[in-house]
């Protein structure tokens, strides 16, 4: 009987996260492991990598082992009428590992909230992301950014697609000097540089934005972000930081984006954000926000090993 409770650290976290999400009204969602390959081929822009494990099923149809959860959730939610669909999941996805370029099975827990998304749902998702990290350890931070604020930087919308993409890449690598390789007005570069360097507590974001530019469009976008940060409860706010290196990753995050880190784990363990752009491809009346916790990255966490150089 005692063996039932001999859980690994990741298994304990899965139960804690499930309890957290269900306390906020999220319902368990169980998915198929396979999806038609065509579905991902048509939406490959939104996948982190083009590689997929494929096979032919007994009916001759080309199938893929799921490389992504969100795309399947979005497709299943399209057509829903009114209200919010709030789901949580614990699923494995199959992706190419960044460095070795081999396929890996990645265990994820996460939430998706689909429907008429207002600031309240965005704030709740950010709060749940922060609390998810706190379930792992109090030594955690959640970086929050907003593509809308970047888009509102004066002159940014006039950049061509490749210049805009290169500028966003500078955010992801916190690389302000990389902007000098991109042709843009000096005012645009100046504000983007300040935004790249920004790292502050949730309550300090408003003051920091005011120092960047007087532009009215930027002020409106920044105000939206600031209001989301201000509505976070105090326990979540402690670990939240305005840090625009949280942009990047898959192309479907179009508004608020978040990346979570835990002391002792080298990369991010949580990633997510608003993906209205993707959702509207399937249903123009719906918005969406969500995040995933990468449970496989907790494998060496929980006290058994640590790097001691």
């Amino acid at each position: 009987m005692s063996e039932i409770f001999n859980l690994t650290y990741e298994e304990k976290i899965i139960f804690r996260l499930r309890a957290l999400y269900e306390s906020y009204g999220y319902r368990r969602y169980k998915m198929d492991k396979f999806e038609e390959y065509d579905f991902y081929a048509k939406n490959k822009d939104f996948l982190p990598d083009e590689g997929m494990i494929t096979f032919t099923d007994t009916g001759g149809k080309l199938m893929a082992l799921k490389p992504d959860v969100t795309l399947s959730v979005v497709r299943n939610a399209a057509g829903m009428k009114g209200g919010l669909k709030k789901i949580h999941y614990n699923e494995n996805v199959y992706r190419i590992s960044g460095d070795t370029r081999h396929y890996r099975e990645i265990m994820q827990s996460g939430i998706e909230c689909i429907g008429e998304i207002t600031k309240a749902q965005i704030s709740e998702a950010v709060c749940l992301a922060a609390k998810s990290l706190l379930e792992i350890t109090p030594d955690s931070v959640l970086d929050v950014a907003d593509m809308g604020v970047i888009g509102a930087v004066p002159g940014f919308s006039s950049l061509d697609a490749s210049a805009a993409e290169a500028a966003v890449a500078c955010f992801a690598s916190k690389n302000p000097h990389g902007l000098s390789d991109i042709r843009m007005p000096s005012e645009t570069a100046d504000v983007l540089s300040k935004l790249i360097k920004l790292r502050c507590k949730a309550d300090d974001a408003e003051t920091e934005f005011e120092k960047m530019t007087d532009d009215a469009g930027f002020a409106r976008a920044a105000e939206r972000f600031v209001r989301i940060m201000k509505t976070l409860p105090d326990d979540a706010k402690k670990t939240v930081r305005a840090d625009f290196s949280a942009v990047g990753g898959t192309k479907y995050y179009s508004g608020v984006t978040m990346k979570g880190y835990v002391k002792g784990i080298p990369g991010c363990v949580l990633s997510g954000g608003s993906y209205d752009g993707l959702m509207k491809r399937f249903d123009p009346d719906l918005g969406a926000i969500g995040f995933a916790v990468y449970l496989d990255r907790l494998e060496r966490f929980g006290g058994s090993e640590a790097y001691d150089v």
């Binding site: 030594d139 390789d181 080298p266």
Partner: protein, 214 residues
């Protein structure tokens, strides 16, 4: 997570130059330059640990969090795209990534261009942007030999003064981008050792600005 600031230095001249900058920025560790065969050096008073690694491995140590920060050339960062922060251009190790070929070479666009390089991703991306079909020949050293012996039409490689090319009858045909050494940081370390890393970054940036004014 170790409470030391763990720094990966690239073996060779660049690493020694970078250490000099870090030493002036308050992170001295005298044993680093002693010529000892040790690989790890620590100064508990400064709260720093250094280790010498192969230059192409610096981003790996940093990405994996074993090193909090490291020094890596922009050529290596562009080639391997590690998931790290690129906090500062140190302004040392200045050179360029270039396409080079024999002096009398001209491009025959009716044929696939054979490109020898240590940087296959960089070469592929450069010629992909130009829409030029290429055959990449991955080499690990003495790249200049390739066009001389007819293994390739051109090379894509780092060029500093251009002396090695000139002595072998080659010349730069095109500069792809400028290269210099960058201070890179593990993304998680940058959150939890933010104060130390930011302060170091500021000191290095100030030192670089003073150097440029001289």
């Amino acid at each position: 997570m170790s409470e030391y600031l763990n720094i990966a230095l690239p073996k060779g001249r660049l690493g020694e130059q970078a250490y000099g900058m870090l030493e002036k920025a308050g992170l001295a560790c005298a044993e680093v330059m002693s010529g000892s065969r040790k690989l790890i050096f620590e100064n508990p008073d400064a709260g720093v640990k250094y280790f010498w690694v192969k230059p192409t491995d610096v981003p790996v140590y940093v990405e994996r969090g074993v090193a909090d920060i490291g020094i890596a050339g922009k050529d290596i960062l562009n080639e391997y795209s590690p998931d790290v922060y690129e906090l500062l251009d140190l302004g040392i190790g200045v050179c360029r990534m270039a396409v080079a070929a024999k002096k009398d070479w001209t491009d025959d666009t009716s044929r696939t261009l054979r490109v020898a390089t240590k940087f296959p991703n960089t070469a592929a991306e450069h010629f992909r942007r130009m829409g030029r079909g290429i055959d990449i020949i991955k080499l690990n050293g003495s790249i200049e030999l390739a066009p001389i012996l007819g293994l390739s039409d051109v090379i894509v490689d780092i060029v500093e003064t251009g002396k090695t090319l000139k002595e072998n009858g080659l010349e730069v045909k095109e500069t792809i981008y400028g290269v210099s050494a960058r201070l890179i940081a593990n993304k998680s370390s940058a959150k939890f050792k933010d104060a130390e890393i930011s302060a170091l970054c500021d000191r290095l940036a100030d030192a670089r600005t003073r150097e440029e004014k001289l």
